[in-house]
Symmetry: C2
Subunit: 360 residues, 2 copies
């Protein structure tokens, strides 16, 4: 056990051993001793995969769409890793069954590596764990990584934001989806997929989405409206092609990405090729505009901030315990012997002094 | 300026000067220098008011209900303070106009002190500011304090939890409300008010709420169901009276509070007396069961935790800045010179050492 085994594990992962990959992700998820060293070691081998986050209400057809997307990439000869994150339940079905590696039902080899992750630990911990698992898949050598989650709250938004491209899946005619969109998902969607496009109300949902996209309170959207709002409004099934017929004097790439709406029927595979093309367009946009690098920097900053926050909170909890526990402080506050600001000052004073001493 | 003026301000607040109260709350809201000392000083004078939190979707009639409730208490000779918190917008209407003190429209004196607060600062900051403003009103001598907020997310839940009694306002037949209830509001509501009870669908909303209350996944609710589920289900308009006809051998007070549903028409004032009675029942329950003290301790612990978190995060941000800023660290991570865990370890190491040295 110990150091030797851990570094062996990383080597086996880098060598493409799926069991090592699975073990590393388990360690990340359960925050096993030594998992941080593993992720640190892995980090240097990342940065090659393109990462797509897919979110949407339960029943919108996420799993089916993800399976079809994985198959499409696989048929192109690319390797695929999928992480399904369920922030609302402490355990996923797979976790309870003890076997959380499954192969995508329609793919006959291990080049689609599927893994579910459950919502352990505190707020924010899940997006860190997701980002770490993505690193494991990336270092392993997966070309395409798909993060799948239910789009409901801030937690899910944080999870899906660890991807380069965010896909929001919408089911036609469901009021839930409008709620979800209002709740901040609209702002983070790069591509909207109206799945089950053969359902009644699909074209209305497409129209509503496009109107919301073009009206959203975003300076980039307004800029875009000014440039070619007319054809954008007419182009109801656009997928990233910008036909600037009236703007031939501006041949440079569009400086902003207008979220695209794609219709699919995941069960039959209809529209998957168009979705893949749109995802590819978005990735090209990210790379050419420099946003890909900028996003990577922002993600790194966010990862650092999350880790600092959770680690320092742990330090504080231990410090509170060493001083008799939070309950004693709370009782003293209720009894008017002290107050929350005085307690905070008291607990943090040594930290402040310590940092100031270092600065001298 | 300085120390003398601040302590004068606290004295004037304790003497019942409304302008001093308004200034203190402004200082709390804007986190002006010295506001912490003020809240610390005030803390010893708190603990006399009863605090009700009222939440509900926009349009459910919160303002009207709060005005009527304030008038009712005022007519009983009690003094009232109202804080309206809007976590979704950075500024409230009052904030923009520069004058955020208004008198409740239907009350002719300053014994109803109304104040709106906007969502400044980071997550969690708003519930701390609300708790501090409540302390100011309490120390001032207000008998009744009402916190009014829009019930939509975690922020609002945190705000409303600073109250002794949580009232959730529901508008008949609106799908929004069911969504809101699902989003965790149901768990924190002590009293549910179906306002606009003359609207179509009101009795169905009442029935739905009562079913949700009795089915909710709460050991206390299940316990209660077991004891007198039958009459509870029949008592559709109950307001805290527990008629244990079949349990005459158990005369002691009910050990749990079953959330009550009250119907009101705030515009006409109908049902306000029943609501006041239910609020009074809940307060009696809290006091007799010991939950009032327990809640106070939990709130104190939460206030300490929030302050520790935000203060330590500020310390960390300064430490990061001293070391060249988060952007440099993020770039180094992207360039694979380091990784988030190594950065975190590096930044926190002095803090760890410092705390360990103190323990020796």
């Amino acid at each position: 056990m110990g150091q030797a085994v851990e570094s062996d594990l990383v080597e086996r992962l880098l060598d493409g051993e799926h069991r090592a990959l699975a073990r590393v992700i388990t360690k990340i998820e359960s925050q096993s001793p030594g998992y941080r060293d593993i992720v640190s070691e892995i980090h240097a081998h990342t940065g090659h995969a393109s990462v797509v986050g897919i979110t949407g209400s339960p029943g919108a057809g996420k799993s089916t769409l993800v399976d079809k997307l994985a198959k499409f990439y696989r048929d192109q000869g690319e390797t695929v890793g999928v992480i399904a994150v369920d922030p609302s339940s402490p355990y996923t079905g797979g976790a309870v069954l003890g076997d959380r590696i499954r192969m995508a039902s329609n793919v006959g080899d291990m080049d689609v590596f599927f893994r579910s992750m459950s919502a352990r630990g505190q707020l924010g911990g899940l997006s860190t764990a997701t980002a770490d698992a993505v690193k494991a898949l990336d270092a392993f050598g997966k070309d395409r990584i798909i993060i799948e989650t239910v789009g409901a709250g801030q937690n899910e938004v944080d999870v899906v934001k660890t991807a380069d491209t965010v896909v929001v899946l919408v089911q036609p005619g469901s009021g839930d989806d409008v709620q979800m969109l209002k709740a901040g998902i609209l702002e983070i969607g790069d591509v909207f997929v109206v799945n089950k496009a053969d359902m009644e109300g699909a074209s209305r949902t497409v129209a509503e989405l496009e109107e919301m996209i073009h009206l959203r309170d975003d300076p980039r959207a307004k800029l875009d409206m000014g440039h070619h709002g007319a054809e954008a409004m007419g182009d109801h099934h656009g997928h990233g092609e910008h036909t600037d017929d009236d703007q031939d004097d501006e041949p440079e790439p569009d400086p902003v990405w207008t979220p695209q709406v794609v219709e699919t029927i995941a069960t039959t595979g209809e529209g998957i090729d168009e979705l893949v093309e749109t995802l590819s367009d978005h990735y090209t946009y990210l790379a050419e505009s420099g946003e890909l690098d900028e996003k990577a920097r922002q993600r790194a900053a966010e990862e650092i901030r999350q880790l600092l926050r959770s680690d320092v909170n742990r330090l504080l909890e231990r410090e509170l315990d060493d001083r008799g526990g939070i309950d004693d402080f709370a009782s003293a506050v209720v009894d008017k012997e002290t107050d929350p600001y005085a307690v905070t000052e008291d607990v943090l004073e040594p930290l402040r002094e310590c940092l100031e001493d270092r600065d001298d």
